[in-house]
Amino acid sequence: MKKIIFAFAVLACALSFSACNKKVEAGEFTVEKGKFKVGMEIGYPPMEYYDADGKTPVGFDIELGKAVSAKLGLEVEFVDTAWDGIFAGLETQKYDVVMSAATITPERLQSMEFSKPYVGNGQTIVVKSDSGFKPASPKDLEGKIVAYQAETTSDIFMEKQAQAGLKFTPAEFDKVINAYDELKLGRCDAVVSDALVYANYANDPAFTSTWVGEADEFFGVAIRKGNSVLLEKVNAALDEMIADGTMKALYLKVFGSDLSDTIK
Amino acid sequence: MSIIKTENIDVSFGDLHVLKGVSLTVEPKEVVCIIGPSGAGKSTFLRTLNHLEKIDTGKIFVDDKLLDDYENGKINFKVTKKERAKILLEMGMVFQRFNLFPHKTVLENVMIAPVHVKKQSKEEAKKRALDLLERVGLKDKANEYPNRLSGGQQQRVAIARALAMEPKIMLFDEPTSALDPELVGEVLNVMKGLAKDGMTMIVVTHEMAFAREVANRVLFMESGAIVEEGSPEEIFTKPKSERLQQFLKSVL
């Protein structure tokens, strides 16, 4: 019995020491030495999602994360996190950055840093191709059931529409995939999502995008406020990638077209 | 015509041979008391009559109609379910622990079976129930719940409840064994009244005075068999078997 207690005590000490190591020491710019930890909500194709095997993360943000960490000379680690509270994880140092199709907004800039934009995005309205419903603008969504992912820019976009007087029935899902499921099953009239997400479904003949808004949203890498060292390094890495064509190659690989113009 | 006749009833609970070839015939208006030590199988025998216990071997006749015929656990003769239900209605039972329905009032307890089983109208059932409660001396408790009554009162209600179904024969399974001594009398009095009115009764009991006074016939059972049988006079004053003599010595 005493041996067990002793073993537990040793284990507890060891664990508390390793927890200490997680705190950023002076001069260190990552929460864990040698590692570049990236927080993301893996379930947002084509930016970050699981491959057919159900466990390998793939997507644009994954490619970006790998490229940036290579430039920084660090080992990349992806931390799957629920979108609800993902930015809080920066504060509590669960990871170094958030690369999760995170839009740079003035509200968010009040509590965290953002790198320069790495791709531009707009909202799009998607419908079922055979439904006969063809909204040419957000106004055509009047009286319809609209599905989108909660707490994203799509959510904010629809809220703005509602405040401007548009009346519609919202269906707010935790994951964007569910919103598209809902559309396919005919339980909503339209999906509003990031145009980049739609890029993933564009090949599916069941869906059609009938309206694309201005690419006025920009995705950036979110970094804990005050970690200026990492911010500088990430920005430098992004500049390099744009200059040496790595970024263009990634656009083509994931989206099928060169989106360099979106961040000019 | 006998009301109940059993032939060689044999019952085993696993390895325990509880009833060994019990045969009994009860004529109308007869009061038969069964006495004997605990574990003799008295209650078990009583309960085979109305199918609360299953028999392995033996025959049971009610009103000279064959009800059950078993041989080593297999049925030789089966009466239809409907027939069986009808026949079982001829028997009423009063339990040692009364078994009144606690969530119903006294009156409801007495009415409930006639209404649901005999499909009597509520008014008719109520009238008869009140008459029966009067007969057992508890009309004033009609709207009480059983938990407000003493043991003796509850048992009298139980008797009224069984009588409400107008059975041909009443089976009493140690009706006073769970009662405080001072409450035994009121129940025995009701039973005496029933006997006087000509009800056929089989009573398993430890109340020897009652048996002596009221029974037409007394059976002494021990270890699953009827050891001796006779009139109360014979059984109590001239016991023939040694075991009965010993038993009487120990209880009287």
């Binding site: 609800d84 509200e107 599905a147 909660a150 707490e151 959510d155 904010i156 809220e159 919202p170 269906a171 707010e172 899902f173 935790d174 569910n178 499921d181 809902e182 099953l185 005919g186 339980r187 | 109305n50 199918h51 609360l52 239900a85 079982l88 209605l89 028997m91 009423g92 039972m93 339990f95 622990r97 078994n99 009144l100 329905f101 606690p102 969530h103 409930i112 079976a113 649901h116 089983v117 719940y145 059983p146 938990n147 139980a158 409840r161 069984a162 179904m165």
Partner: protein, 219 residues
């Protein structure tokens, strides 16, 4: 705007969510009791097939997470059998929660029924009641009193489990709260939300206590 003003501003939305939460809880537990009653009778039956089927149902619904059951019913089934696409989110939630609650209630009911004195069955038999009369008039009514604490518990559990419906975009208290929190960037809304849950729980508890007292008149 002061915090209090903000909170007051959120109350209408929270109350709308409360309607869904309470309605879902009440209907699911009620349906669960009915389902549970038949399941428990089935499990106590002498017919082997019935016994095994009921046992399997109970095993499945108690052995898998409610979250999965809800998700599978709403998203999984329609993909396999398009005919089974449920249009109404509330209906889907109601079905999933009822089926689940039924499995748990079955065990509570079985325990309550089996706790009723054997003598009650014997007296019923001696009076000529058939199985259904015995159950319906004598056994089940007496079981109800013993069930009240369990039913009360189940209400309170489902009340909280109802928050899972955000998965299918049904706007219950929790979903409304999260929406407000993220769009206003203010976690303050969790306070009135939790107080709302507490009030509902307290009301349920009082009702159940009163009911329990009422039923104990005869015991």
């Amino acid at each position: 705007m002061t915090s209090l003003q903000k909170i007051i501003g959120w109350i209408p939305a929270l109350l709308e969510g409360a309607k869904i939460t309470i309605l879902l809880t009440l209907t699911s537990v009620a349906a669960g009791i009915v389902i549970g009653l038949f399941l428990s009778l089935g499990k106590m039956s002498k017919k082997q097939i019935l016994k095994k089927l009921c046992g399997a149902y109970i095993f499945f619904f108690r052995g898998t997470p409610l979250l999965m059951q809800l998700y599978f019913l709403y998203f999984g089934l329609p993909k396999i059998f398009p005919m089974l696409t449920l249009r109404s989110k509330f209906l889907a939630a109601f079905i999933a929660f009822s089926l689940n609650s039924g499995a748990y209630m079955a065990e509570y009911i079985r325990a309550a029924i089996q706790s009723i004195d054997k003598g009650q069955k014997e007296a019923s038999h001696a009076l000529g009641f058939n199985y259904w009369q015995t159950m319906g008039l004598i056994i089940v009514p007496q079981s109800i009193r013993r069930l009240i604490p369990s039913i009360g518990n189940e209400f309170i559990m489902i009340l909280k489990d109802a928050s899972l419906v955000s998965l299918i975009a049904l706007e219950d208290i929790t979903k409304v709260t999260r929406s407000i929190a993220s769009s206003s960037g203010n976690e303050l809304v969790y306070i009135p939300a939790m107080i709302l849950y507490l009030i509902i729980t307290a009301v349920f508890s009082v009702v159940f206590n009163r009911t329990e007292k009422k039923f104990s008149v005869y015991e």
